[in-house]
């Protein structure tokens, strides 16, 4: 079946602009995760949804970052007033929930100029 998909695959924006990154999880997966991967690092957790609600948003670096999952499927990560330090690959993963394997999408490479 179809895996996790993310759009766009690449996004270049200017400092101060607003961006939205989209994630389509595997059908039937109730848990959805956002991670950020900077160069030379492993993925770092941002936020986790169980269904429509954010079960854990402790990884969001500041209030410029926000994510939604209004119908318990597709999720959007929103970044306001982007900064050059936001440049990274943003990864989305989904799972059936619980201590289950997370399956990752290909990521969105965000570049803030």
């Amino acid at each position: 079946g179809a895996g996790v998909s993310q759009t766009p695959s690449n996004k270049v924006t200017e400092k101060g602009k607003y961006v939205e990154l989209r994630c389509d999880p595997i059908s039937g997966h109730t848990a959805l995760y956002w991670y950020r991967q900077s160069l030379g690092q492993g993925p770092e957790f941002l936020i986790y949804f169980q269904g429509t609600g954010a079960a854990d948003d402790s990884g969001l670096p500041n209030d410029r970052f926000f994510a939604v999952r209004p119908e318990g499927s597709v999720s959007t990560l929103k970044i306001q007033r982007t900064e050059r330090g936001d440049s990274a690959v943003y990864l989305c993963a989904s799972s059936l929930g619980g201590p289950d394997t997370q399956y990752f999408g290909p990521g969105t490479r965000l570049t803030v100029l």
Partner: protein, 111 residues
């Protein structure tokens, strides 16, 4: 403070030999461990996992060993193939909390 550490940034192995990738962790509450493989411009791909109640899990050429007393995890690939060349990430979690990843080890399998 890094809770999951992969101290070798890179590893080079000859085709057909064994590759051993290591991972150490500091949080004794971790109860689920996974290995992911990542090719350039792709997301991490799940390889193999192990729960803390086991000390070994095998899947084809891949075996993961867990030593809880040493807080150490290793991935063995045998025999290694050129297509195994990628970055390997160790990850851990407590119950169903989000994964904590190491920084990765780049494996190069030389033909």
């Amino acid at each position: 403070d890094q809770q999951v550490k992969q101290n070798s940034p890179s590893l080079s192995v000859q085709e057909g030999r064994i590759s051993i990738l290591n991972c150490d962790y500091t949080n004794s509450m971790f109860d689920y461990f996974l290995w992911y493989k990542k090719y350039p411009a792709e997301g991490p791909t799940f390889l193999i996992s192990i729960s803390s109640i086991k000390d070994k899990n095998e899947d084809g050429r891949f075996t993961v060993f867990l030593n809880k007393s040493a807080k150490h995890l290793s991935l063995h690939i045998v025999p290694s193939q050129p297509g195994d060349s990628a970055v390997y990430f160790c990850a851990a979690s407590v119950l169903n909390t989000p994964l904590v990843f190491g920084k990765g080890t780049r494996l190069s399998v030389i033909a």
